[in-house]
Amino acid sequence: MRRDIPLLITGIAGVVFIVQYFIPHFPFNRFSNWFSDWFSIVAACAIWLGALNLFKLSLEKIHARREGWGYAVITIVCFLLMTVVGFSEGRDYSKVGTGFDWLYNYVYSPLSSTMFAILAFFVASASYRAFRARNFEATLLLIAAFLVMLGRVPIGDLLSGFMPPGMRLSQLATWIMQFPNTAGQRAILIGISLGIVSSSLRLILGIERSYLGGD
């Protein structure tokens, strides 16, 4: 029973949302909008579960004085600071000039963009480590990456300056992006979509049910 009802719900919802695509008639024409509204409301409710979990784990850590409990204190204080400021600003919480906006600009945003920027270092270490001519496939990966990188900076055209115009490295890089890259992306995209069709069908038919848990 606890498992059959959810399976039924998944199946019916799946069929309805396939069918709505082909029916312009009310109410089917609204279904996808409704779903996105409903989902955002459910997600907004569910974040209470997440936040409570974050609180619970941090408090347990602090209470037991487990290693790193001090950091848990910082997390909770920052969370409370952000929520108190955010709720006290009202619905225009993110307007330019509010305290919430200040915290966003000077705390959230530097942290976020720096974490993103770290990626530059990892691109370098991955290039050093992973682009090795272990076999033919790896060599192709390496050569394609090398040529495209070379073609993206002025040095590439300097090195290939002796070639007739139209065959310089920057153009070669563009060609690789335009043709072989398109071919690969297309094959991947078609494959992915067929994979989605079949795994969606498994979910709708109730063959795949591990996400629903046990009885």
Partner: protein, 221 residues
């Protein structure tokens, strides 16, 4: 903008956080851990507040309560369905009836599966196939040679790439060789995308360095 002092505090705070995250590259350390804890707390708080005001308040509350009847869309009442699903989800907090939260979950999974099935089929399978079907060269033969080679490459690459993804046929003989060519194309694709992305990623680092050198340290004008 802000008063001088506030601006300085802001700059130093941002610089402190920036360097703290960068310090992780050397090794895990207290400074990074502090920044990480701040980041988790501040960002979780941010989303908590944003979800509340943007979704619960603006979407639901305003939709069913604040907006005058005359201004509402004719299907405003369906917002209650969303709220009902949300409440069922929150029942998870009550151990005895927590299992009911599987219902909204099952609904979301089913609807997502249905939506993705048709939209991906339409936009990716159909459209990509339609795009691949094109002449390799035209009547006037005026297409430049690189474009003709390119068109052949796209057709062959897409074809063999798809063969690689076949699950139910053994990759042997001619089929196996085609699959092998397919994986070559995939590898070129991966290499090219990787190389192409380097510039984007570097820009982000340059942006941060620019902040440290010019906004904070004022080393350059």
């Amino acid at each position: 903008m802000e008063s001088g002092l506030m601006h300085h505090v802001a700059l130093w705070l941002a610089a402190f956080l920036t360097l703290g995250i960068f310090s992780f590259l050397y090794r895990d350390n207290t400074w990074y851990k502090v920044c990480e804890a701040i980041f988790v707390g501040i960002s979780a708080g941010y989303w908590f507040v944003a979800y509340f005001w943007d979704n619960l308040y603006t979407k639901f509350w305003v939709g069913v309560w604040v907006t005058p009847m005359a201004d509402r869309p004719d299907d405003w009442y369906v917002l209650y369905v969303g709220a009902a699903l949300g409440i069922l989800m929150l029942l998870r907090l009550v151990p005895k009836v927590g299992w009911i939260s599987r219902w909204p979950l099952a609904f979301i999974v089913g609807a997502t599966a249905g939506l993705y099935l048709v939209t991906y089929f339409a936009s990716n399978v159909m459209l990509q196939i339609e795009d691949t079907v094109r002449p390799i060269f035209g009547a006037e033969n005026d297409a430049p040679i690189y474009e003709i080679i390119g068109n052949i490459v796209v057709a062959v690459g897409t074809f063999t790439g798809l063969i690689y993804f076949f699950f139910s046929k053994e990759h042997r003989g001619a089929f196996g060789r085609a699959a092998k060519v397919g994986i070559f194309f995939l590898m070129i694709t991966f290499g090219a995308s990787f190389g192409y992305t380097v510039m984007s990623r570097m820009s982000l680092l340059i942006g941060r360095m620019d902040f440290l050198f010019s906004d904070w340290l004022k080393l350059i004008k």
